[in-house]
Amino acid sequence: MMNVISQVSINEWLKEIAVVMRQNKDYLSQLDAAIGDADHGINMDRGFQKVLIKTETFADQDIGAMLKNTGMTLISSVGGASGPLYGKFFMQMGMALMGKMELNLEDLSTGISKGLDGVKGIGKASVGDKTMVDVWTPVVESLSESVNQKDTLEIASDKMVIAADKGLKSTINMIARKGRASYLGERSIGHQDPGATSSCFIVNILQGIIVGKK
C-alpha cells in the first residue's frame, strides 16, 4: 500500500505491462482476428518489448521523462493504429508529469486525463465508438471523482479498475465506428474490442502495483 506512486513503481508498471502483453499476445491478436487484422497482441508485444529494454536506460529519469520516452518508443516501434494511439497516450501523460519523481492521486488523475486527450486528439474517437477510449474515459472520470471525494490512492485505484472493466465490457455490444473494426458494421457486435482490452490490462497492472499485489 502506498500514498504516492514512486518513480520506481512507474518503472515497475512499464515492465509489468511488457510481461502481461507477452502473456496475452495471442489472446489480444485473437480478439483482433474477430473484428480486425489479428495483430493487436503482436503490436503491443513488439512495442512493450522495446519499452522493456528502455526501462533500464530510463531508470534514473523522472516520471514524466520516463513516460514520454515510453510514448516515443511505442511510436517508433509499433506502427498500426495502436502505435500512435498508445504513443500519444504515454507522451501526453509524460508531458503532464514532467519533473515528477512521485505521483499523488491528483497527479495520476491529471496524467491519465492528458493521456486520454492525446488518444482522442489523434484518433478522434468518442465514447461508444468501440475503442480504447471506452476504457480510458470511465477511468478518467473515476479518478477525478476520487480526487473530489478525496479517496485514498488505493481506493481510487480499486474504483478505477472497476470503471475500466465496465468500460471494457461495454465495448462488446457496441457497433464499431472507428478503426478497422468499423468496416464490419453490425457484424462487430458481440466482440470485445482488442485495444480496450489491452488498455484494461494496463489499468489493472497499475492498480496491482498501487495496492502492492504482484
Binding site: D39, G79, I122
Partner: protein, 356 residues
Amino acid sequence: MKKLINKVDDVVVEQMQGMAAAHAGVKINLEPKYMYRSDSPISTKVAIVSGGGSGHEPMHCGFVGMGMLDGACPGEMFTSPTPDQMLECAKQVNGGPGVLFLVKNYTGDVMNFDMATEMLHEEGIAVQSILVDDDVAVKDSLYTAGRRGVGTTVLMEKIVGAAAEAGYNLDQCADLARKVNCSGRSMGMALTSCIVPAGGKPNFEIGDDEIEFGVGIHGEPGRKRMKHTTADEITSMLVSGILEDENYTRTVREWDRIKGDWEDKVITSDALKAGDEVIVMVNSLGGTPLSELYVVYKKLAEICEAKGIKIVEKLVGAYITSLEMQGCTITMVKADAEMKKFWNAPVNTPGLRWGI
C-alpha cells in the same frame, strides 16, 4: 504454418534484403526500415514516397524505381510503418522539390503518416500527403473509418510517379494523385484466409464452400460471407459493386504548407458511367494463380463492353496482395488523357516494368 521464411521476426527484413540483392535499382536502409531508388535523391523531381504494412508485395517496396516511387516504408506484417521510417526515408529521397506521401486510408497508416508529415514540415521540407480511399466494399465514411485504400494505390503510384519524373511540381503531383483517387474504385473477395507469420494461424476461418465478399487486403471482413459460386457471378458482383457505386463524397485532411496545419477538404468521386474510359486492374491477393485472373478478366471485359465502358489499359497479375490469400480484387480508374499518358510512360521497378 508452412512458409518459405526463416525466423518469424526476420521476415520483413529478409524480404527487403532479397529484393535489394535482386534489383540494382533499389537500395535499403534497415534502421529504420525503408527502400529507396539507388539514384536518389534526384534534385530535379518531387520525391514520391509511400508505405504501409508488409504482406502486400510487390506493393510498395516493389514499386520503387524509375517512373514510380522514390521511396517506400514497409511496416511489420499488415501493420502501418512508423513515423521515423517515413521521416528518414523522405529525407533520403528528397532532392529539393519536396516530398509527396501517398497514404492508404487506414487508421494506423493515416495517423503515422500524419505525424511524419508534421515532423517533415518542422524540418523545413515541403511535404504533402494524399489519401487513397477507393474500396467500395465500405459504404460510408460517417460511421466507419472511411473507405480503405486498395487497388487504386498501385495505379496512383504509377501515374504520379511518371508525372514526377516528367517534372510536375509538388502541388501538381498532389493534384494528380487526388484526381486518380477520385477516379478510382475497387472491390475484392477472398476464397481463403492468409496466415500472418507472427500469428501463425489463419486470420479468419472460412468454410470450404464459402467466400468473403468485399474483403480488405488485410483479410478484414467485407460486405458479407456467402456461398462460393462461379467466377462469372463473382466478377459480376464485384463489377456491380464498382459500377453501381454512386457519387462518393467525404472529408479528408490534407496538409497546408503555408499554415503548417491540417485542413479539411471535401472531395467527391463521381460514379462511373457509359462512355467513360477506364484503366482496370485484375489483381490476385497472392495465392490465386494468374490463370484464374484471366477468367475474371474475360467476364469483366464482357460486362464493360455491355455497359459502354471502354477499357483502355489493363493490368492482370499480383500487385497488391494479402500474403498467400486466395482471392482477387478488381480496380477501375476512370482515365483522362493526362492519366493515360503517365500510365504509358516508362517504368522500371521490381514489380512493374515497361518501356525501358
